[in-house]
Symmetry: C2
Subunit: 894 residues, 2 copies
């Protein structure tokens, strides 16, 4: 018999922390907390397998599920000393989702379940607080009505607002028990009116309705969107956790809160969090009331008048500190806790590894390794390489003038400038059009996540550090300022006003998520200094990794940044990028327009000294390191003038008639330039171009050597090879140039001649190509385009459809398609190495900076990855994790 | 010790007919003729391995070659009873090339070698004919001077012409011995003048000079061009044949000629050929003198006044008939012979399988099978499938009016109309620009072959049925009229005049290569009746083949032609071709411009009945056969109006503003449409399009069934699948439409849903795709584009460079690239069949009609090939040959 239900409570549990796949994160950790003796309200978890079965069987449950739930419920009743539906001692339940990965706020929750017209009286009697009981009942009707029955929550909110207006109340606390009784009646009538049947009074109906609603919410739109963005497969499913209710709203000796065992923004070792006295948990996360600090220290830092938990409830705070210590040493990671204090007793409702900023993640693992809690290898494994990137991006220049207009909470670090938009859809739309926008909202909700993803930064006027906006923005690596209460946002007029200044949609603002400042206009950013924890962790990573990390760079500036970030050479220098400078493009155009080889040679002769200078600069920076230079790749028409003004300018300089240029342009036009006369095909047709480039490379290398610098190791890369014969025609031409230059200068440098592997045919024929080529560099951008038959420039038209329909789990241009492109890479590696044992293998597509792709490259045995300068540290860390994993390291997800 | 030299002569030989690879075709057959007792002048063959060594070792010979040539030469001297260089009994030699494959006229030949100032006197004495001896000497100086020494032949021709003018001669026969002596002196002076050294008198120098010239000619431009066109690898090399000279120009009892054992145009069983009395062999082939018929029958048919060989030399003719009988029964194939009669004795100089027209090839193999000379399988193997195509192309409508302006020899069958050009380069240029041209020349030479290949037909004013023009045109399958002497061609003025009519470059003429007629203007052509030998051979082929042959067709006309040619269904019906008819394109454009699904459905509703009618027509013609229908494939922008007039027309009909259409067009534009939003990607984005098409298909199939016809078997093909998930999303939609239509009509038909395999990723993931797809059809056009990363539309810019550099042995869009594309196909077949044993496999790219590709498809185990209607018989024959080969059949070249 399959066990669909796992009990926990009273110091023991059927599950444990290892069973996240089956019980979800929440369920597994509730069980674990029971096992280690922490106070957890008794409950049970319905497994994720039930979710899968539910969707496979047209929303029907396994036959024996009911039979397993009944005894589990009975076991709660025994521990809680209450009975479900009993008018005297009613057991109330919470029903919560909980998948393998955290999806904050995406799925449904029902609290206070088990209340009806009878049990509410029992609760009133038991608690001695009729107002509390009725408040709980109306909360239940509203939540259950909205989530399970589909009665829009605005109905309920309107009724409450009407009642308050009628009575002249402004705060909920002004409502007495009778008020709540009237609200309860009005709510029930509304349900009857909207649905045509009464609010369910049967507690078992209530429970099964809530269970189905939670399972059903797994497939709601916002959950699907969230999963798509976070690459969570739909097949994982969610578990359902049913627990005895505990109440943080039973008076001034009750409270509810969330806490992190270390500061999730900075990583500092201190209890960090927020709580609300006399409130239910949802009140904190929803950001409706501004919460209070947990510690006195934090309260003082915030300058808050409201007492901290440390001050208000010192005993319970002591219990919380003890729980925190126990959890961190048990889990060996920073924990994110949810707790409720019911009449002076602490109950733990959740623990999980806490989300954190990259900066905090770094500090936490480095500290924990220092504390002896984890090893250096574990520290390396723990940091998400992709998150590192946010550390490396520019921050606001401290010297720059800032016109600060508002201040909020530093909810997610980093800085960004962009046009203001007030709506998530506008944000998505503007971003799709290439505009940088800052999303400004009163508060965010799960419906907004696509817009948040599209924005460069997020500002909210309400909510705390653990509000939806803050949690989601940190996860996405977007800078965020939350709770900037002085902003008055008028979504209808599309303006926000602060101290008399009106900021309209489209105006540019800047936010600094590390300080909580919002500024008018754009503020200059600078490169952050990368030291301290970052340097320590990178050092550990470098000890662990096998693959080298190079960079894709053409300019001295990029190359210097990359070398500072630890790049061990250049993996891709796109020489055509050097052709577009104004003083060069004319010579390039002359070359293209030349009638014959002589004319082309004359024009190339003008380009040679400039190209040589480019290489000299790069070689100086990369002194002693390999520099892979790709010979001219794009089709020639890309260089020709497009506008009449450009045509005329060219005519003036060269004396070539604009009409002649136009005719030549038309002749060079291509239906599918991506598959056209480019790459080595240019080298075959016009060998003099590659010969000039080769000469520039060798002369530059010798110049650096002659200056006393350590000679670089040029790796000359021929693009777009599809056949060995192409390579065999071009390589000897390059070798001949080398021999000539070496003879002229009376000196030589080591060099290699190799090829991109960026066409399926090249991958298939890698064996014979490797007999001639000394290295391969996988050009996974083009290889993805040709393997999939998808032009990256045109994919936008259907990419969303493809992600939405689950055809792509991820954009294959972001993370390597292991099944298709990956198999070709594997074939190429096998065949290439079989033909040439010491064949040097690397990757220079955009994928070289994607951690999952880096891991794949490590598994293929590549020698190095190459990526853009800012992603070099990301790649170093990802390469280290890959090496540790393949050594049978600490993380089993390889 | 490697044997570099093989002797033959006097009834025996060291080589034989099987040794073509080593001895070349000519050398192997000379040896074979000796072995079977035919009279062959003694000689020896220097092997093709020497040619290879010559090019590998920088034009140096193997060390021991001289040592092997010396005894071989001595052995000729013994048999010929003459001595090389001897002033009294001089042995004269011919030095001829001879590769594995025939390359008529492409390489160099030297005759009369061994003559010098001394030996010419010996020859005069021996032959008793001083004039003959001096004529031979001047021929030798001219040929050797031109071929070996590089003295342009125009020098010699000018000297001869001057002398004739001086003496008032008009014919060569008017020159006496003294005249030739003066010519010889003048020639020698000219050589001295041009080269700065005298004409070589040493006979060994002469011989080695000639040998080197022949080997050197293997790499001359025209030989390389010929090899490229005929797919002959450069690595094969040529042999050199050195033989004792025999003279057809020793008087009226001497002659030279060429003969075919059957008529190479019709295949009729009769001795066919031409000869010249008192002439050397080159005179016949060069077409300088108009040759005489061999048989009395042929002379009478031609209405010639010159006596046939049968009449002029009855005894020798008898010997020739005997040789012909012996050769045909020995070689079991039609032979092409060269012979010389020296003073009444027949000498055989060459035999080889004769080139023939497709019509002749058919008749010959059908006749030979009937005669019991070969088996039916051998007959099937013997016919070149590609050549079949010329039989199937339109011929002139016998009813059409013909304005015949000239008549020549029916040198190569078929008919064609085109603009007149007078120069091979012009022909190539015009054809490259898509113009149809007829190449008109006085006579053609090997330099012209590229232009001949580019022309749709060839007309010459001089030369016979075995002239260069005739032989080459037949080989290429181009219609040709040769020797149309009434045409006066003025290449300078670019006109030709016939009976007062002046035809200028660019005027259109028509030629009929089956009758020898040349007509003014374009003449209507008709489809030839395909019966007789063709039908018989096709019957044998159909018995032998394993693969089915379908056709690529969209219209009823095409489908009917294809079915008449034996197509067994449709392998590719491109539905978008049905969208361009004027009354439909407006609805299609409405569909594209629709703002939403509703709008698209409304427009599709208008297209549905038209599309249904299309399918109904096709299904009637293909009743009972499978019909593969590809759902919409091209990107939508292909359907939008391009011109302002079209935009306005659309606006008038639909009320959509032209500006709106233009904006939508710009939105739909793609950088690389080949890799864009097309194929199943459209189906994912706009499922309603495929649903309409599926409905049209099922309704049409049921309509045909309801009419009492045999229901077709629709095979619905989803294009451009890259992932199984795409297929899994679209297939159920088609099945749902089928279920709906079947329910509506209360009837059903069998059908399949499958996919094109046209992307590398689809080939790699074929295993999982086959779990859902019921058939695969290889779309090798797109698969070649993506595997190679080459756009077929843009390849023209470098295709020539690629063929010229040997990167492509053949255009990969014409014949499947077995190494690259082929490996992907093989993977797809293996993985697909592993997942679904009864997976139906076919090919529908253009390659389906290419014999080499058909053979490859057979080796992969495909179930069928599909090709354009006219190529269906080609594919049937190619499939039969493939099956016979894979059964270990008669031809070992599989």
């Amino acid at each position: 018999m399959t066990a669909w239900v796992y009990n926990f409570g009273d110091g023991s549990a059927e599950g444990n922390a290892e069973m996240k796949t089956l019980l979800g994160g929440k369920g597994a950790n509730l069980a674990e907390m029971c096992n280690i003796g922490l106070p957890v309200p008794p409950g049970f978890t319905i497994t994720t397998e039930v979710c899968t079965a539910f969707y496979e069987n047209d929303h029907a449950y396994p036959d024996d599920l009911h039979d397993q739930v009944a005894p589990a419920l009975a076991s709660i009743e025994i521990i809680a000393n209450a009975e479900f539906g009993d008018p005297e001692k009613p057991l109330l339940l919470s029903v919560r989702s909980g998948g393998r990965a955290s999806m904050p706020g995406m799925m449904d929750t029902v609290l206070n379940l088990g209340l009806n017209d009878e049990t509410v009286e029992g609760l009133a009697k038991l608690s001695g607080d009729r107002r509390f009981a009725l408040d709980s009942y109306r909360r239940f009707i509203q939540m259950y009505g909205d989530v399970v029955l589909g009665v829009d929550h605005y109905y309920f909110e309107d009724l409450l607002a009407e009642h308050k207006e009628l009575k002249g109340y402004s705060l909920d606390t002004e409502l007495a028990a009778d008020d709540w009784q009237q609200i309860v009646d009005a709510y029930k009538n509304k349900v009857q009116e909207v649905l045509g049947f009464p609010f369910p009074q049967g507690v078992n109906d209530q429970m099964w309705g809530a269970i189905s609603a939670v399972f059903g919410s797994w497939m709601n739109d916002r959950a699907q969107t969230y999963r798509r963005i976070h690459h969570i497969p739909a097949s994982w499913g969610t578990a359902v956790n049913i627990q005895a209710m505990v109440f943080g709203n039973m008076g001034e000796d009750s409270a509810t809160g969330v806490a992190f065992t270390r500061d999730p923004s900075t990583g500092e070792r201190l209890l960090f969090g927020e709580y609300l006295i006399n409130a239910q948990g949802e009140d904190v996360v929803a950001g409706i009331r501004t919460p209070q600090s947990l510690t006195k220290h934090a309260r003082e830092m915030n300058g808050s008048a409201l007492p901290s938990m440390e001050e208000a409830m010192p005993d319970v705070f002591g219990d919380l500190i003890a729980a925190y210590e126990k959890l961190e040493s048990h889990y060996r990671d920073m924990q994110d806790l949810e707790f409720t204090v019911q009449k002076g007793k602490l109950w733990m409702l959740q623990t999980r590894a806490g989300k954190r900023t990259a900066k905090a993640a770094l500090k936490i693992v480095v500290d924990m390794a220092a504390e002896g809690l984890i090893t250096q290898e574990e520290a390396v494994m723990r940091v998400d390489p992709a998150a590192l990137e946010q550390l490396l991006h520019p921050m606001l220049d401290p010297e720059a003038e800032r016109k600060v207009i508002a201040r909020g909470l530093p909810a997610s670090p980093g800085a960004a400038s962009g046009e203001v938009v007030f709506d998530a859809e506008d944000a998505a739309h503007a971003a799709a059009n290439g505009r940088k926008v800052v999303l400004v909202r009163t508060e965010t909700s799960p419906e907004d996540i696509q817009g948040m993803h599209a924005a460069v930064g997020i500002v909210t006027s309400r909510g705390g550090m653990t509000s939806h906006a803050a949690v989601v923005a940190r996860g996405m690596g977007r800078p965020c300022v939350s709770g900037a209460g002085m902003l008055r946002i008028d979504t209808k007029m599309r303006t926000m006003t602060v101290a008399g200044t009106v900021i309209s949609e489209g105006d540019v603002i800047t936010l600094d998520g590390a300080t909580g400042e919002v500024m008018l206009g754009e503020v200059v950013t600078i490169q952050p200094e990368v030291t301290g924890d970052f340097g320590i962790l990178m050092g550990w990573a470098d000890k662990a990794r096998r693959m080298r990390v190079r960079t894709n760079a053409e300019t001295p500036e990029e190359s210097q940044v990359a070398r500072d970030f630890g790049a061990e050479g250049i993996g891709l220098c796109r020489t055509e990028h050097m052709f577009f400078a104004p003083e060069r493009i004319v010579a390039v155009r002359e070359m293209i327009l030349a009638q014959d080889t002589e004319g082309r040679r004359a024009a190339l002769h003008k380009i040679l000294p400039m190209q040589r200078q480019d290489f000299t600069d790069l070689f100086r920076i990369m002194s002693g390191l390999p520099v892979t230079i790709r010979l001219l790749d794009p089709p020639l028409h890309e260089f020709l003038p497009k506008t009449d003004a450009d045509l005329k300018a060219l005519a003036d300089v060269t004396g070539i008639h604009p009409e002649a240029v136009r005719r030549r342009s038309i002749l060079l036009e291509e239906s599918n330039p991506m598959l056209g006369h480019r790459g080595c095909r240019l080298g075959i047709s016009y060998p003099e171009i590659y010969e000039m480039q080769a000469r520039a490379i060798f002369e530059a290398a010798l110049a650096v050597k002659a200056d006393g610098g350590e000679a670089p190791i040029p790796e000359i890369m021929i693009p777009l090879i599809a056949t060995r014969r192409e390579f065999d025609i071009l390589k000897p031409k390059i070798v001949a140039v080398a021999d000539t230059v070496f003879a002229e200068r009376g000196d030589r440098v080591d060099y290699k001649v190799g090829t991109m592997i960026e066409l399926p045919r090249a991958a298939l024929r890698a064996g014979e190509i490797a007999e001639s080529a000394e290295f391969f560099s996988f050009g996974t951008n083009d290889l993805t385009q040709t393997t999939y038959g998808i032009s990256r420039d045109d994919a936008g038209a259907f990419l969303d459809d493809y992600l939405h329909n689950g055809i792509f789990e991820q954009d294959p241009f972001v993370s390597i398609d292991k099944e298709g492109v990956g198999e070709l890479m594997q074939l190429a590696v096998e065949r290439g190495r079989a033909a040439r044992e010491d064949l040097k293998l690397g990757i220079c597509g955009e994928h070289g900076g994607d951690p999952a792709s880096v891991r794949f490259c490590d598994s293929l045995g590549l020698d190095y990855v190459s990526c853009s300068p800012y992603r070099v540290p990301v790649a170093r860390l990802a390469a280290a994790q890959a090496a540790l994993q393949s050594d049978g390291g600490t993380d089993g997800t390889a």
